[in-house]
Structures are given as C-alpha cells and as structure tokens.
C-alpha cells in the first residue's frame, strides 16, 4: 500500500491491515504487508531532505497505527514492512508513480495494491491518466480502500495562502498600473481590480508555494535565458529562410522522440515552447517527459540533441548545477534517429 499524508490515510491503513490479518489467519502461508512511501524527488535534490523527513515521520506514525490495529495478538505469519521507495529518481506524473509502485511490487513479489482513495500523486490533471489506470498495466490487483472520505469542493482549487494572494495581487496591480495613465483614480481602481483578480485566481495560480527566494532567482536566470533564446531564434530563422527560399527546397522532415531531463509543469512547458520557437523544430506532443518533435532538417535535429535549450531551461529552473546534466546525445539518445525507437525508453536521469 502506498502511503501519503491524506485525510483518509489512517482508515486505509486500517483496511489494509484488516485485509492482511484476515488472509493471514485464514491461510497457513506467510503474508507480507508492505507500507511504502513513494518519494517524488531524488535523494540528491535539495528539497529531498525535507521530503524524506516527512516520509520517515509518516512511516513512524503508520507503525503505531499498525500495532494498534493488530492488537495484542498479531498472527505469527504476518510480516509488516515499512519502506521508502522511488528516491532514486524524479517522479512527475501518475504514470511515474505507477512505475515506481509496480517496480516495488515486482521486487517484493506483491500481488495486491491497496490504494488510498485520496492518494493522488502527480496531480489530477485531466491531461494525465489517473494512477488507477496506469497501475492496471501490470497484472497486480488494485483495490481502492472502501473508506469514507469528506466531500471535497473542487480538485482544482488548492488551499490559497497569504503568499499566493500577495503574489497574484502584486503582479496584477503592477500590470494594471503599467497600462494605466498614473492618475490617482487609477491607483484606486487598480487596487480594487487586483483584489478581485487575486481573490478569484490565487487558489489556482500556483502549484507550489511561491517563495521569495526562489522566484527572484528564477526570474534573474530567465533574464539571462531570454537573450540566449532570441539569439537562437534569430540564427535558426535565417537557416529556415534559406531552406524555404532555396529553389530545390532541401528539407528532410522527420519526427524524433526524446526524453528530456526536465521535471515539472513549468519547465516542461517552457522547454516545449522554446523548442517550437526555435525554427526547424516543432513540439508535436508531450507526454510527461517524452517529447515528440517534428524537425525540418537533419541539421536542426543535431542541434536538438546537443541539448543547448534543454540545458538552458534547466539552468533557469534549477540553477547552475542542474545545467551540468549530460546532453541528450551523451545520454545515448538521438543516435538512431528512427522515430519510435530512439534511445532507451527508461533513460534514468542520472547526473
């Protein structure tokens, strides 16, 4: 059973323990119950320490719950294991979590996964297939624990906090004032407008808590990135103009796939848009981290796998160290430029 700190985790643990106990008492065989926290960040990530700490404390609590539920007379053929998995890679979407859970299940010979109904790792974005669907890939039985849960308002609206309101208010106020005529009345109407905007949009504007240290850093690095991007766009546009105006139209279009070493909604979106903006390459579809890219000529395919853009996007979002991750070509991608079979599908994002 994958654990997460949700409102129904306690009841789900109770259900899993009850199931395991019944099975153990009914049969003579050894029954194993694994309670697993799936860590989303890699252990080397700066945020990983906090996450692993949370995971440990959750496992400690789970241990107490299991003792409570089993009571004074636990069946002797029931093993309960508490484990953290997935710390060796970044998990981004429900599909990634399903991979990690299935891998763990395969390693430990587990036949049934008990899901907490509130366990929604990687978000519930309508674009992504939910975890239950992803888990059904393998022949592991998936059971969602029949526990009562409080009705939720909407999945989209996350808890809005003061920093979120503040950030949205500040940005919209600034935007309003920039376009205004700087009369005293504008300051008043701007404040009212910004208040309405932040009231409506703050709950959905950020997926993470805005941080006063992270965002200025990212903005500063973005300011370095934009001129770089514009230069790339200009150079590549000249190439495309040459190709398009050349009498024999020397194009060799092909769709290539590559697995980008960026994680999270904003970096993936930025990279996808940057790839489309750089002439000769067009992002056709993005699934998690796998990009399908239509490229116009062999030259631009080479540039793509050199990974300059990818590296720059990593620099913007994660800082200088992350920019040092090897380029797609060095990771063994793009050598065979055959659409559909390029590279290893499970390229580990090792630094």
């Amino acid at each position: 059973m994958p654990l997460d700190d949700s409102v129904t985790v306690r009841n789900t643990v109770a259900y899993a323990v009850e199931q395991a106990e019944t099975t153990a008492r009914d049969s003579q065989q050894q029954v194993a119950l694994h309670l697993v926290v799936v860590a989303s960040t890699r252990a080397v990530d700066p945020e990983a320490q906090a996450e692993l700490g949370d995971a440990k404390s959750l496992l400690d609590r789970a241990e107490v719950w299991v003792e409570e539920d089993l009571g004074a007379d636990p069946p002797t053929n029931l093993d309960v294991t508490f484990e953290i998995t997935g710390a060796d890679r970044y998990l981004f979407s429900p599909g990634d979590y399903a991979d990690a859970i299935l891998a763990y299940a395969a390693d430990n010979d587990i036949g049934q996964v008990v899901l907490d109904p509130e366990f929604n790792p990687g978000g519930t974005t309508p674009m992504l297939r939910p975890l239950e669907v992803e888990l059904a890939r393998d022949d592991v039985t998936v059971v969602t624990a029949p526990v009562e849960r409080p009705a939720r308002s909407t999945a989209l609206a996350r808890a809005a906090t003061l920093p979120k309101y503040g950030t949205v208010f500040g940005i919209s106020y600034l935007f309003y004032l920039l376009l205004s005529t700087y009369k005293p009345l504008d300051f008043l109407t701007g404040a009212i407008t910004a208040a309405i905007v932040s009231g409506l949009l703050a709950p959905i504007a950020f997926s993470r808590q805005p941080s006063l240290t992270r965002i200025p850093k990212q903005l500063a690095r973005l300011a370095i990135y934009v001129p770089y991007l514009i230069k790339e766009i200009a150079v590549a546009n000249v190439q495309i103009a040459y190709v398009v105006l050349h009498p024999s139209l020397p194009i060799d279009p092909k769709i290539v796939k590559f697995e980008a070493a960026v994680w999270g909604d904003a970096p993936v979106t930025t990279l996808a848009n940057s790839i489309t903006l750089t002439p000769g390459t067009l992002t056709v579809s993005v699934s998690e981290r796998a990009f399908d890219i239509h490229s116009l000529t062999a030259d631009v395919r080479g540039d793509l796998f050199e990974g300059g853009l990818e590296r720059a996007v990593r620099f913007v979002f994660y800082g200088r160290e992350a920019a040092a991750i090897p380029s797609p070509r060095e990771r063994g991608q793009g050598e065979d430029e055959d659409a559909g079979s390029s590279g290893d599908p499970e390229v580990p994002a090792d630094g």
Binding site: I240, I251, P253, K254, I255, L277, P279
Partner: protein
C-alpha cells in the same frame, strides 16, 4: 535620417522579410507539420521585429510598454498555437511527409 529611424526601417524591413518567408513557406512546404513550422516561427520573428520597430517609433510613450507586452505574449502564444495544430494533426493520424515521398504528394 537619425540612427533610430534607420533602426526602425531596418527592423520593419527584416520583419516584413520574415513575414514573407512565412508566407512562401506555407505555400511551398509539403504537409501540415512543415507548414506549421513556417506559420509559427518565421511568422513570430517577423511579427516580433515589426512590433519592435513600432515600439522604437513610439519612443518613450506608454504604447512602448504595451508593445513590449505584446512581444512577450506573442512569444508565449504562438508556439502554443503551433503545438496545438501539430498535436491535432497527430491525433488525426496524419503521417508526416518525409524526403522519400513523392514531391507534391500530401
């Protein structure tokens, strides 16, 4: 003419050139994907250069700020639109044209 005026003329001309390249590209290129290339990129650069010329021409005016916002939003929305078109084409099962195909066939 002042240097600024030269810059404005140059930007507008180069922008118009890339706009023209985009148009030629849409006519000449063989299939929906390659045409999306021309429509999204040469076009973006063309529009961006032309708007930059306008921003320069307007000088310190408030409209310059608005022009800069326009630029930023073009950079954001144009690739997104191209992506939407290409993705829709892929969902429809349209095979990309490759160099091996007959010229003119789609």
């Amino acid at each position: 003419m002042t240097p600024t005026e030269w810059a404005i003329v140059a930007l507008a001309l180069v922008g118009a050139f890339f706009g023209g390249v985009a148009a030629v590209g849409i006519v000449r290129l063989p299939d929906v994907y390659t045409r999306a290339h021309a429509a999204s990129k040469s076009d973006t650069l063309g529009a961006v250069l032309t708007i930059s010329a306008a921003a320069l021409a307007l000088q310190t005016d408030l409209s310059t700020i608005k022009a800069v916002f326009l630029l930023a939003f073009m950079f954001l929305t144009n690739p997104t639109a191209a992506h939407a078109i290409a993705r829709a084409a892929q969902d429809q099962g349209i095979e990309p044209w490759t160099a091996g195909d007959e010229e003119g066939e789609r």
